[in-house]
Amino acid sequence: METLRKQLIEDTKKKIMESFDNESLIIQCSRYLAELDTSIYSMKLRLKGWYGFYDHDVVDVLDVSGEKSSLGADLTEEDLIILNENIETLRLLLILKEDNINYLTKLMEVKVPRLLDVAGVEIGAKLISLAGGVKELASMASSKIQLLGAEKALFRHLKSGNKAPKYGVIYFHKSVQDSEDKGKAARKLASEISKVVKVDYFRK
């Protein structure tokens, strides 16, 4: 039993190491980006409310004049120092986000160049992450790709007969955003993605 145990522990270690490839990096980076986006959004909103005591007219905390508006509260220098520190950190997070996107682009250029081309870096990576891998995405029907990221709405539809969702994460793609008929554009884009990701996966 003890030999078997040692053998299996060694096997597992080996398999963990073998399980790593660039795809894992794409998925992790994409999920991290999503977290980063959420954080940036809520920090921005919170800081806007905070800074608003001082300057009622603030629209974007990343673009503030530093001057008090007529109805603004008299904040001390100490109050302003921490506020500015928070705003600067938010700015750094935006740079971090850009760095992550650039890195992700490089990974995808190697692994899925055609998908990157058609879907763009963020949507393309999200699709891989939602599918669980390039292989999984390549074996998906185009209709399923169209709804990746819309699972909640899809199940609501199946359960209660509400309207069926027309798009998942591909909704944010330019071709869908710019289209009059978003459902049709989403269908078209999903079919194109389904085609190119198959090429990306099966070439070699």
């Binding site: 003890e2 078997l4 145990r5 299996l8 522990i9 597992t12 398999k15 963990i16 359960k159």
Partner: protein
């Protein structure tokens, strides 16, 4: 969140797990529950911990290295033929998978690995069998498929989960 096995034990339910048992754990995850089982079976017992995700396995591997009666198996419970030769017959199977075909996975594994009269706990997440159907209906179907078993609603601690307790 509390371990599902611990929730069952805290309720005073006898799951049929004994000292010195050899156990197969399908879906061992990070190893929290697996460690509880390892403590119960003691140094003369043994726990085979099967887990498919290599990321989760990093944690589980550490737990297995620290506990001499635990072994890790990085395999898919759907592909029994890949690990068939690595596991001995066991007295107990504990399964907690969120898979659509979790019942048939259990049946296949218990047929091969569970000794006659061996006991089992099968945790069912109704939502992953059918996300649309009514939970009660899903559980009724599982009950029909499993035959003579005891069903425990774990809704108090784990929403939408049921424990199926039985003997081969």
């Amino acid at each position: 969140m509390i371990s599902k096995l611990k929730a069952l034990l805290d309720e005073g339910i006898d799951v049929g797990l004994n000292k010195e048992d050899n156990v197969l754990y399908l879906g061992a995850s990070h190893g929290v529950t697996a460690k509880i089982i390892s403590k119960i079976v003691g140094s003369k017992g043994f726990v085979f911990c099967l887990e498919v995700s290599s990321i989760v396995m990093r944690d589980l591997l550490k737990v297995c290295e620290d506990n001499e009666n635990m072994v890790p198996l990085l395999y898919d419970a759907n592909k029994m033929e890949e690990y068939e030769d690595k596991i001995k017959k066991v007295d107990f199977i504990y399964q907690d998978l969120a898979q659509r075909n979790q019942v048939s996975i259990f049946k296949k594994n218990s047929e091969t690995f569970l000794k006659e009269k061996g006991k089992f706990v099968l945790i069912i997440k109704a939502k992953s069998i059918d996300a649309v159907k009514d939970v009660k209906e899903v559980i009724e179907n599982v009950k029909k498929e499993m035959g003579d078993v005891k069903v425990v609603d774990m809704g108090k601690t784990h929403k939408g989960h049921y424990a199926i307790l039985g003997e081969k």
